[in-house]
């Protein structure tokens, strides 16, 4: 296929070509004088996207999720717009009452005035990606585009092509950090029509312990496209917890990819909370590369209207004696559509693998739909891997029991829905975030603010 940057976009042009032109043009213009790690990633991304394009439903990993709505919408790259401003107090409802280090991206652009990363705990470095590319090129080059290479898939390629915004978080060895670093992505009305491609790099050195919150909120009901890639390195004996909270505008598009690589005896935990966006896709991929390490991937999705929410997990057991635990739960109302695909791949060397995966979904209306698929590929003979998926409706026996005590239909249903969601929220170790998400869930189902 031959594409030319100078050709005006005709109405008959394939939308992917438009993105491709944008990506190529951006990579060319923004590579000039860009720090080496970013320039390399952009070039690789533009090349990969030209080759891969957007995935189609013919691709097995995208069978239940059509991204044509994204491919057919023109967006302006966040990096080609100026950094906006916002009253800092506007963000208060989204910071969990914490005085934690905060990195704010407004409409896809790093907003230093809204961020507070000046007082960090000892041993933690939090840097804007562009700064890190200049000040720490060697460190960045070791991790950028490594666990999530630019040619992984179309979205990761597009993210690479537009690389520039993001944050590097580095926790030095043996540092145990009690407070999380919060990366808050905010979109307001002026973010309509913007696409942002944040790339975050999280590094926990040997025996370090840290947690990061990655959240997405919107202050206006506008349409935009977020396409994040988070690269995670959890070194030997380290523990990293990532809380992902997707509360985008109901008309937004969101693709969020996490790719982790784990060392010996490490533990990586990711919790994915998904209630926003018209169309969203979450990818959480981890490679258990060192012996004796483990991963815990949990999630809760609550969708309504015609929302589409897709969750993909991939746990690659490379080394022996590792464990993986996955529990995803969902509540689907109205005509919403959920997708869960949990891949567990056990290499021949990964003996004594202990894997457990569950996906439970409650359908709250007859038009709601879930496609759930465990996918176990096991090439070692001494392993224990289980999976289970349930799809159900509100339990009639429980409903009658509650009613027989005087609790009305509406409240009884709400309590049962909340209860269904609550046990996976229980797994969140950060109390403030856990309580905030419990409140969000409770309010969604009961309108009550206490429990």
């Amino acid at each position: 296929m031959i594409t030319s940057v100078s050709t005006p976009v005709s109405t008959s042009a394939s939308p992917t070509v438009t993105f491709q032109e944008q990506a190529t043009a951006f990579a060319v213009s923004a590579t000039d004088g860009a720090p080496a790690p970013l320039a390399a990633l952009r070039t690789a991304g533009a090349e990969a996207f030209a080759r891969l394009g957007f995935p189609t439903t013919r691709n097995e990993d995208w069978r239940y999720t059509s991204v044509s709505a994204i491919a057919n919408t023109p967006f302006v790259a966040a990096l080609e717009r100026a950094v906006g401003t916002l009253e800092a107090a506007t963000l208060e409802p989204y910071t969990f009452g914490g005085t934690w280090p905060l990195v704010v991206f407004l409409n896809g652009r790093y907003a230093p005035a809204l961020s507070s990363i000046t007082t960090l705990p000892d041993g933690v470095r939090v840097m804007h990606l562009a700064t890190a590319a200049v000040q720490e090129p060697e460190l960045l080059a070791r991790y950028l585009g490594v666990s999530a290479p630019a040619d992984r898939d179309g979205f990761t390629a597009l993210n690479a092509a537009f690389a520039g915004e993001g944050v590097l978080i580095h926790v030095a060895k043996e540092m145990v950090i009690d407070v999380p670093v919060h990366i808050l992505h905010v979109t307001d009305a002026s973010g309509a029509g913007v696409m942002s491609h944040p790339r975050h790099v999280l590094i926990a050195d040997r025996h370090a312990k840290a947690s990061v919150i990655e959240s997405y909120v919107s202050l206006a009901d506008v349409s935009y496209f977020t396409n994040t890639v988070v690269e995670v390195a959890v070194d030997d004996g380290a523990t990293l917890q990532l809380l992902r909270i997707q509360r985008e505008s109901p008309t937004a598009f969101h693709v969020g990819t996490v790719e982790a690589r784990q060392g010996r005896d490490s533990h990586f935990m990711a919790f994915t909370f998904q209630t926003g966006a018209a169309l969203s896709r979450s990818n959480v991929f981890t490679v258990l590369a060192g012996a004796g390490c483990g991963t815990t991937l949990n999630g809760l999705y609550m969708l309504g209207a015609t929302q589409h929410g897709d969750h993909q997990t991939r746990v690659e057991h490379v080394a022996p004696n590792c464990f993986s635990r996955e529990a995803y739960k969902g509540l689907l109302d109205d005509a919403s559509h959920g997708v869960f695909n949990g891949k567990v791949y056990v290499h021949p060397e990964a003996q004594k693998t202990d894997g457990k995966q569950t996906n439970n979904t409650l359908l709250l209306s007859k038009d709601a739909q879930i496609d759930t698929k465990p996918q176990l590929e096991i090439f070692a003979d001494d392993v224990k891997c289980t999976h289970g998926a349930t799809v159900g409706r509100i339990d009639e026996a429980s409903l009658f029991y509650m009613k027989s005590r005087g609790v009305g239909q509406l409240l009884a249903r709400q309590l049962l829905m909340y209860a269904f969601a609550a046990d996976v929220l229980e797994t969140i170790e950060n109390d403030a975030v856990k309580e905030a998400l419990e409140q969000l869930t409770m309010v969604r189902f009961t309108g009550e603010t206490h429990h």
Partner: protein, 248 residues
């Protein structure tokens, strides 16, 4: 208080109750006994409004109202309480939250103010003593991980808190050892007042040593085949059910 007249009910099209008539007045305790499959539990479930049962004939009047026309929660708010034979487990909802929600729904239906968690704790504390339950049980999920005896005590606790006018105990004694049985029976007896009533559904006479009935009814084949006083229960214990069924 309760007038059941020629009640017929079916499940999945299969008739279970085939013409039950029974009158319960305030201050009375009625025991409903009978062999397995006689329709005892169905009667209890139909009175509470279980949606799986279809009422195919007859009427039930409760304090002048058409009970069968009331939603299950409205029946409960009006003072009808069913202690379940198999109490339901509700993971994720604490006992305290559930019971307070029920208590407040009933208060709201009477136009009373709702109580907050602290006030509710005061309400619950003395009732816990009645059934020998520790307050820690309130912060556990409803019936989850409870022993058989704990589940039944939890039913009586709910009854004690909600203070029904008409309590229906569906085989509350089944599966209980003698100590648990005594606790449950003491709880029920402590709640007895001249203005409320109870229907005690049981397979065994044993419970009736502790909860003394004013009337005993024998249910068989979906009908009441014999009624009497507490001596009937003793006779059933001594002679079994066959002689009643034959006589019917």
């Amino acid at each position: 208080m309760l007038v059941i007249n020629d009640l017929h009910a079916a499940i999945d099209g299969k008739p279970i109750l085939k013409g039950i008539s029974l009158t319960v007045n305030a201050g009375e305790v009625h025991a409903v006994m009978g062999p397995n499959g006689s329709g005892k539990s169905t009667l209890a479930q139909v009175l509470a409004g279980h949606p799986a049962y279809e009422v195919t004939g007859g009427s039930v009047t409760y304090n002048g109202m058409d009970l069968l026309d009331m939603a299950p929660e409205v029946r409960a708010q009006s003072g009808v309480f069913l202690a379940f034979q198999y109490p339901i487990e509700i993971p994720g909802v604490t006992n305290a939250y559930f019971l307070r929600a029920a208590y407040n729904e009933i208060r709201k239906s009477k136009g009373l103010e709702e109580v907050d968690p602290m006030e509710f704790l005061d309400v619950v504390e003395e009732k816990l003593k009645l059934v020998d339950m520790d307050v820690s049980m309130m912060s556990r999920s409803v019936n989850v991980g409870f022993s058989g005896g704990e589940k039944k005590r939890n039913e009586i606790l709910q009854m004690a808190v909600l203070q029904p006018m008409l309590a229906i105990l569906d085989e509350t004694d089944s599966g209980l050892d003698i100590d648990a049985l005594r606790i449950v029976a003491n709880g029920v007896n402590a709640l007895k007042r001249p203005d409320n009533a109870a229907i005690v559904v049981t397979h065994y006479q044993r419970l009736l040593d502790y909860i003394i009935p004013d009337y005993v009814h024998v249910l068989a084949g979906g009908r009441i085949v014999k009624s009497g006083d507490k001596s009937l229960a003793l006779e059933l214990e001594a002679r079994g059910y066959d002689w009643v069924l034959e006589a019917a």
